[in-house]
Structures are given as C-alpha cells and as structure tokens.
C-alpha cells in the first residue's frame, strides 16, 4: 500500500510537471467542445439553388418565392440556361438546379399538367436526398394551392385523406448540438485515457527509466495500478470540465442524474486505460504507441455511432461495434443526458464495459514483463 502511495506521488508529479500533457488535458476539451458542436451540424439547410426560369409567368414567380420563403433554400442565381446553371454546380456554388420549362403556367392550366425539372448535386448523398425531398414537398404544396385556385373542393371531401401529425420527443427544438455534445464528451475522455496512458509508459521505456523501476521490488500490479489511477482521476476531471463547458456554453444539463454518468464513466475509464496499457506493452517507441492508439481510436470513433447511426451499418460492422467500448459510452451518454435514463436502464452496458476492463487489464498485466 505504501509502495503504491509513492508510485502515485511520482506519477502525479510527472503529469503536473509536463506542460504539454497539461495543455493536452485542459486545452483539448475546451477547443473541441467550443468548436466541434458548431462544426458538426448535419442539419440540411442553406441549400443553394440555381433557378432557370424559362417561363417568366405569374406561377413561376409565385413558385420561386414560395421556395425561397421556406427557409431551407438560398437563391444562388437566376441562370439563363441549364448550362450556366450547371457551371454553378461545377463551381460548387449551387446544390440544386430548378428548371421551369417554357409554357409552365399555360400547360398547367390548359393541359392540366406541367413538368418541372430538378437536377441535384448528389456527391453528398444525404444532402441531396433531403434537399430534393424538401423541394418536392414545396412543389406539392404549391400544387395544392394551384388546385384550390381552380377547383372548389366540396366540404365533404370525396377524396380519402389520412392526416399525419408528427411530434418529436426528447429534443423538440431539433437542436443538433444536444445530440453531438454528449458524444464529443465521450471522445475526449477516451482520447485522454488511452493516448496518455499508452504514451506515458512507452516514454519510460524509451528514456530507459522503466529499467530503474524494474530493478526495484515494485510488483507488476503495483506498477500498473500506479499508472492507472492518475489517469483515471484525470479522465474524470476532464469529464467534469466537459460537462461544465456543455452547461455553460450550450445550456445542456443531463436529464438523468450525474451519479449515473460518473458511475459509468468510472467503469468505462478502466476499460479504456486498460487498452492504453495493453498498447504500451506491445510498443517500444512513442511513435509506435501513438500510431497504434491513433489507428485503434480512429476505428473505434468512426464505428462508435457518433457521426453515423449504427443501425445503418452492414452486419459485419455492427458486430465490430459490439466489441467497441466507445459505442456503449456514446449510447449511454445520450440516453442519460437527453432521455434521462437511470442506472437500471444502463446496467447491461455497465456489465459489458466492466468485462472489457477486466479482460484488457489482465491481458496488459500478463503481457508486461519486467525484463527489457
């Protein structure tokens, strides 16, 4: 026990004397939490339109003003021809071309139907689909207006209609930040945990100070515990800073209890630190350790469901996410922060993460040899 106390003292001193690590701990969360939620806004809005109006009629003007008034679309320019409009797309100045053909109004009134052309820049498939869907909805709406103008609908409508009302729970303002910030917090805790722990041990290897520890009577698990505890504390510290920033800048207050978050984070950090330790036992240089942690982190984070929903991944990728601790933490964070889930709801996740922690840490202890 006394031995552990001294080791801890040493580790804490090392951490607090190294300015670059301290910066990593305090600057990273601030920068990431201040910038990322603003950048990570997937909401599809500000879709830029190039409009080719060959009709110049009352209807085409009405339609255009209806589109631009909707709030989703911005008018980039009125193009003279489809070709000039396409150039706008090539230059990345417009996203959708709306072409209103000649005699649009006349055809609509006389022939009872008229075509309308949309050409969508589909390099970003999501944006293209949603943008086109919004535009189609506006066309429908406009179409109904036109019909109402020409047909007197009887009060007792002969046409069957199903009225759809929709509501959004947990995030009625549809604020994307509420969704992203809890996920970004997870990212921070994970990066600090695994990177710092791995680099820390490998640095001792690289400098050679690990030899000095190896010749002392310090036990394997003493050494590993001595490395684990300081970073465990730091991880929770970062989480606290992150939660504070989330509250101060975005007004995000967990709907669930803080206790639930901290209990899960505590267990989770054990698993992540275990991963860091394991990486460090396999590496000899900081460069290797960094690259491997980076590689693993990248896979974990991309497949963690932070940016894209897990349900839409193929089956093999969904299997990987089952072995990805980041997935569990992101899900738990979102559930607790947005939906107010309690300890009971997340109990299975805690169990799984605990198992991860156990396996990773024992693997690391077994693999750590006291020989150079």
């Amino acid at each position: 026990m006394r031995m552990l106390k001294f080791l801890l003292q040493k580790e804490f001193r090392q951490v607090f004397r190294n300015p670059s690590v301290l910066r990593l701990i305090f600057v990273m969360p601030v920068i990431q939490l201040l910038i990322l939620p603003w950048a990570a806004d997937y909401e599809v809005k500000n879709i830029r339109l190039a409009i080719v109006d060959n009709d110049h009629s009352e209807y085409s003007r009405q339609f255009i003003s209806k589109v631009t008034a909707s709030g989703y679309f911005q008018l980039d320019q009125y193009a003279n021809s489809y070709k000039t409009a396409l150039q706008e797309i090539e230059k990345d100045k417009a996203d959708i071309i709306v072409q209103i053909p000649v005699h649009f109004e006349k055809d609509l009134v006389k022939e009872s139907k008229a075509p309308l052309f949309l050409a969508v820049n589909a390099i970003n498939g999501v944006k293209a689909t949603l943008g086109a869907a919004y535009l189609q909805a506006i066309v429908q709406d406009f179409n109904n207006d036109v019909r109402e103008e020409w047909i007197q609908l009887p009060k007792f409508s002969p046409q069957t209609t199903i009225e759809i009302t929709s509501s959004n729970w947990f995030n009625p303002l549809m604020e994307y930040k509420y969704f992203m910030v809890p996920g970004i917090l997870v990212l921070l805790v994970t990066m600090v945990g695994s990177f710092l722990a791995a680099l820390n041990i490998v640095k001792e290897k690289e400098i050679g100070t690990i030899e000095q520890i190896n010749v002392t009577p310090v036990k394997k698990y003493h050494f590993i515990l001595g490395k684990l505890i300081p970073f465990w504390v730091l991880g929770l510290l970062i989480l606290t800073i992150g939660l504070l920033i989330a509250f101060v800048t975005y007004g995000i207050k967990p709907a669930g209890s803080f206790l639930t978050i901290y209990v899960f984070a505590g267990v989770y950090l054990l698993a992540v630190l275990g991963l860091g330790l394991l990486v460090s036992t396999y590496c000899n240089t900081q460069q290797q350790a960094m690259l491997i942690s980076f590689f693993l982190m990248m896979i974990f984070i991309l497949l963690g469901g932070l940016y894209t929903p897990i349900e839409s991944m193929p089956v093999w990728a969904q299997w990987i996410t089952k072995f990805n601790p980041v997935t569990y933490f992101i899900r738990v964070m979102r559930e607790v922060v947005l939906k107010g889930s309690g300890l009971v709801d997340i109990l299975p996740s805690i169990g799984i993460i605990f198992l991860f922690g156990l396996v990773l840490n024992s693997w690391a202890v077994i693999n750590y040899r006291k020989r150079g």
Binding site: L24, M28, I31, L36, W38, A40, Y42, E43, V44, K45, E90, L108, S112, P115, L116, F117, V120, I123, N124, G125, V126, K127, A128, T129, A133, Q136, V139, N143, V146, R147, I151, S157, Q159, T160, E163, I164, T165, S166, S167, M174, Y176, F179, L199, Q286, Q287, Q288, L291, F295, M298, L302, Y307, P309, E311, S312, P314, A317, I320, R331, E335, G340
Partner: protein
Amino acid sequence: MKQFISFVKKEFHHILRDRQTFFILLGMPLVQIIIFGFALTNEIKNANFVVLDGANDAASQQLISEISASRFFSFNKNIYSYKEIENAFQRDEAKIAIVFPPAFASDLQHLNKAQVQIIADAADPNTATTLTNYLSAIIRDYQKRLTQNVDLPYTINVEQRMLYNPQLKGAYNFVPGVMAMVLMLVCTMMTAITIVREKERGTMEVMLVSPVQPLKIIIAKAVPYLLLSIFNIISILLLSVYVLEVPIKGNLILLMGEGILFIITCLSFGLLISNVTDSQQTAMFISLIGMFLPTIMLSGFMFPIENMPLPLRIISNIVPAKWFYTIVKSVMIKGLGLKFIWKETLILLGMTLLLLGLTLKNFKIRLA
C-alpha cells in the same frame, strides 16, 4: 549527392525496420477506405418502430404490414400506452412510434378522413426528420391507393435527376476526404515526430556535426514519407475504383500532380512543427490540434461548411485540406480540368511556399 542518397537510405531503414509502424502506415488507408466506404452511411435502414394501435382493425393492420415490409423500418412490438413509447425510446428499442386512434378504419370509410400520429425519438434530429419523412411517404402511398389512382387535375410532374452520384453512395463524398486525412497523418505527424525523436535522443547532434549540409538532412527525412504517401494515394485510388466503384472521371495525371502538391504542403507543415518543438509529445499535440482536427472538422468532408457560423467559415479557408478536398472532388468526381481549379491550386501552392519559407527561417543548425 551520394551523401544525400545514403541519408535517404538511412531513413528508409528506420521506417522499414519498424515493422509495426510500417504496416500501419500502409494499412491505414486500406482500413479507412473500407470503413468509410462500407460501414459509414447516413442512409437509414431497418429502424425499429413500435405501434400503439388503438384501432386494431383491417386498415391499421394493413398499414403496419406495409411499413414493416419497407426496407427502412422493421417492426419491434405492439405497445399499449404512451408511457411505453417513452420507455422504448429510453432503452433504444425503437426510433419511432406510430399511434392509430380508435376507429381508424371506420373513420376512413365513413368520414373519408382519419388521423395517424407519428412520434419520433428526436435525440438524433436528422434521423428523426428522415424517418418521419419516410413514414409519411408510405402512408401517403397507401392513401393514394385508397383513392384508386385517380389522376388529379392540375398536376406538376417533377422530374428529378441526381448528378454525379445517381446511386447516392457515401463513398463519393468520403474518398477525397480520406485521402486528405491519410496524407496529413503520414506526412505531417510522422515527419514531425521522426525529426523530433532524433532531437530527443540526441542523434540529431551527431548528424549535425557530419559534413552533410543540415538542410539536406532534413530533406532526406522527408523523402521516404513523400514516396510512402504517393504509394498511399495510389492504393487509395485503386481501392476506390475497384472496390468502392467510384470512378476517376477527370485526368489522372492532374489528380496525381495535385496529390503531390498537397503532400509537399503537409511535409512542410511537419518540418515546421519539428523545428519549433523538442519533445515528441508536444509535436504530436501540435500536429493533432493544428492539422488533424481542423482537417476533420473544417475541410467540409465530415461536416458541411455552409452550416457553420461565420468565424468558422473564415477559419476554414486557412485549412489546406479544405482546398485539396475541393480539388479532388472536382477532378475525380466531377471530371473537371485545371481550368476550374486553378484558383484552389494556386492557394495551395501559396500555402506550401509560405510554410516552406517559415521552415527555412526557423531552421537552426545548432541545438539549444
């Protein structure tokens, strides 16, 4: 020249002997392309839904079976109260709930009008919007069939074309981004760290007293990473063409040229970092904050730039990856020529020269 070549050789030995690192450097683009190409899509499939069926009649059953049959939704379970909807959302068992009022079918028959309520779990706003849209479309389809396909008068027929990427594959968006990310990692971070490592270990001192010009030592450090990166570009392109089936529409030579220009930009940044730092951890930290995060956040490949607030949009202009991303997208996917991207190319070139200038200015022959 001979000295220079032997220095380059030495660097190659460094890289080749460290098997782990070497394989990760080569394997990284492979894994990234596969993950980005196959696993990451925003397209939503098989979203679970729960049904609160107050009617439980022919019409509601019909509608439920049609929703279950679509590839976007899969039926989770029937529930019997609003409270249970909340529970299902909290446990993540369902993303969306459909509520039928009592007497749904009879309302449809007798009043020609019935109501359906959709409740979405909006914790993820985008998924919620998309699912609500899909579900409404299915219900409208069903309604259309009820009215026996009567052609409505005064109809605007929308003809819609998806340019460049008619199958709406995510890969079209990701391949150029992955390219920027991998190059940044290999060139900037790895170069900075190898040089700083020699400083940290003291071997830099040894090399600086050798008769080779210091500048040549530094360039020799960068050469292997240049070659490695070119190899990475080629492997990314091969993978994207043959595995992801994203064709290269534009000029291959132009694309490679732009790639090499970007590699040099990244290398200069790596050299600059190595000049101003003397510990590996600091070098890593600066590369992460200064290069990697901005690349992911502000280049436009993960997050749409046009949605960002003005200050971020302005900052995004000094991120080299943003310009490279635009260039690759234009050449590779839209098939445009140099005429359309000369501005971006010039900006990238200017940044490279600036970075190289700063590097040379900060270059010290003596260590502290």
